[in-house]
């Protein structure tokens, strides 16, 4: 299991992560980020890609 943390003070809801890991990240109808804080290990590449593309660098994987 991978644990994900998003610093919601940093997050500007750009939604770049949504394209990389759609199972974990979505933009709701109010343009706000919603995320699922756990992902199966098989999702690691996608989650890491989401971390990379965050313009605010607000996402991290808790090891």
């Amino acid at each position: 299991m991978i644990k994900i943390e998003v610093d919601m003070n940093q997050c500007q809801h750009y939604g770049q992560c949504v394209f990389e890991a759609p199972d974990n990240f979505t933009l709701n109808d109010d343009d706000k980020l919603e995320y699922v804080a756990e992902a199966p290990d098989s999702e690691r590449d996608n989650i890491e890609a989401a971390v990379d593309v965050c313009p605010m660098q607000a996402i991290r994987i808790v090891e």
Binding site: Q12, G15, F19, L27, D31, P55
Partner: protein
């Protein structure tokens, strides 16, 4: 050409985001040999966009913008504070300004851009913002009541104007353009941006150049080409950039605008030869993106160093593995979606695609209202090639998909 020494490291020149992503990608793609990253700045790789926005508005520190270091990067060698001065592609060597010459097994070119400067005498109070050190120096002078002149009205200049206003400075923008952000956004949107920036108290002098920056030891005023004089304490020059290619001069690489690469990010020489052991990533890379056409372009958007760095790392790792996978990896589709964002006051811009491909007649509002929130479409030959959100995000997603699928 003589063979490269297989015991030599992969040398990545440029220790910013593109170089970092290339190194990470090499490791993730299974390359276990030596990697050395050579960078001119003393700081480990960091995220630049906050340097004109959030971080400039608060504390400018490396910690606030540093990229996290991944475990697999532990044995990557960082050679920082060292500038590449020459490269010999035939001998597989790199010369740096500390006088050393090092061998490389493969080379990744990631030296990016540097800020262009106005051609006036050096004087205190003149600034650019490209590096962390630049932002630190500027931050110290953005005190309440300071009179700031921003030269140039691209995204960077407009963001810096907004941040300076937020910090209590008076701000004037001087630009040769008719409207702020005219070139990247087009006339329709740029006119609206002018209205919003003006409403926030930014004074805009458009269609003019800087004729002189005057002052004894520090900036006192800026004289414009129409004779107007603006009193100033700080001048911020955001007038574009130069590619850091000087160290590559004398090589057969195509340096006509940045460094030419193919779609696998392999460097291409002036006679069209594709080099399997030299790669180009980031702002400096001019490469074809089949999402749009077969024209090689440089794209100065934030996502490009990451996308091209990952691509170069994967292709190079396959080349070095020599396990028969190379042709398949090269042939894998690579069509990164350009994306950018810009925050200025309460204006939140976000875009996908290549807005700059489009002429003013082919820009139209898709949803919403320009004076409030809107999605704006950029068309080329009736195909959607770009979409801009003004305060809209999720609404852009179907348009992003349309662009990725060829724009129809």
């Amino acid at each position: 050409m003589p063979e490269a020494n297989p015991a030599a490291p992969v040398v990545i020149v440029g220790a910013a985001m593109g170089g970092l992503r290339a190194a990470e990608s090499l490791r993730r793609s299974g390359y276990t040999g030596a990697i050395r990253v050579v960078g001119e700045e003393l700081h480990a790789p960091y995220n630049r966009p906050p340097l004109s926005k959030e971080v400039l508005a608060s504390d400018v520190t490396h910690e606030a913008v540093a990229f996290p270091s991944r475990a697999e990067m532990g044995d990557v060698e960082w050679m920082l504070g060292v500038r590449a001065t020459a490269v010999d592609l035939a001998a597989h060597t790199l010369t740096t300004d500390d006088g050393s010459v090092q061998e490389w097994r493969a080379l990744v070119i990631a030296t990016g851009l540097r800020a262009r400067r106005l051609d006036f005498a050096p004087i205190a109070g003149r600034h650019v913002v490209r590096s962390l050190d630049d932002a630190m120096a500027l931050r110290a002078e953005l005190t309440e009541g300071a009179r700031v002149v921003v030269v140039g009205s691209g995204f960077l200049g407009c963001e810096l104007s907004a941040t300076a206003r937020k910090l209590g400075c008076s701000v004037s923008i001087v630009t040769p353009s008719a409207e702020p952000m005219m070139r990247p956004l087009g006339d329709l949107v740029a006119k609206e941006m002018r209205r919003r920036l003006t409403d926030e108290g930014v004074e805009i002098f458009s269609g003019v150049n800087v004729a002189a920056i005057t002052g004894e030891t520090a900036v006192e005023s800026v004289e414009l080409s129409d004779g107007h004089v603006i009193e100033a304490d700080v001048v911020i020059e955001s007038v574009g950039s130069h590619c850091n290619i000087e160290w590559l001069e004398g090589t057969p690489l195509d340096l006509s605008d940045g460094v030419l690469a193919d779609n696998a990010m392999r460097a291409v020489t002036t006679d069209g030869t594709v080099l399997d052991d030299v790669y180009v990533v980031g702002d400096i890379a001019r490469f074809p993106n089949p999402m749009f056409d077969d024209v090689a372009r440089r794209i100065e958007h934030w996502n490009i160093p990451t996308d091209t760095g990952k691509r170069a790392g994967a292709v190079l790792a396959a080349h070095l593995a020599d396990d028969g996978s190379f042709a398949d990896v090269v042939a894998k589709p690579f069509a990164p979606m350009p994306s950018f964002w810009s925050n200025q006051f309460e204006i939140k811009l976000q875009a996908y695609g290549l807005l700059g491909l489009v002429s003013d007649d082919d820009i139209r509002v898709l949803e919403g209202d320009l004076t409030d929130q809107a999605a704006v479409g950029y068309y080329r030959d009736d195909r959607l090639v770009g979409v801009l959100g003004i305060g809209m995000k999720a609404a852009l997603l179907p348009y992003r998909k349309q662009i990725a699928q060829g724009g129809e």
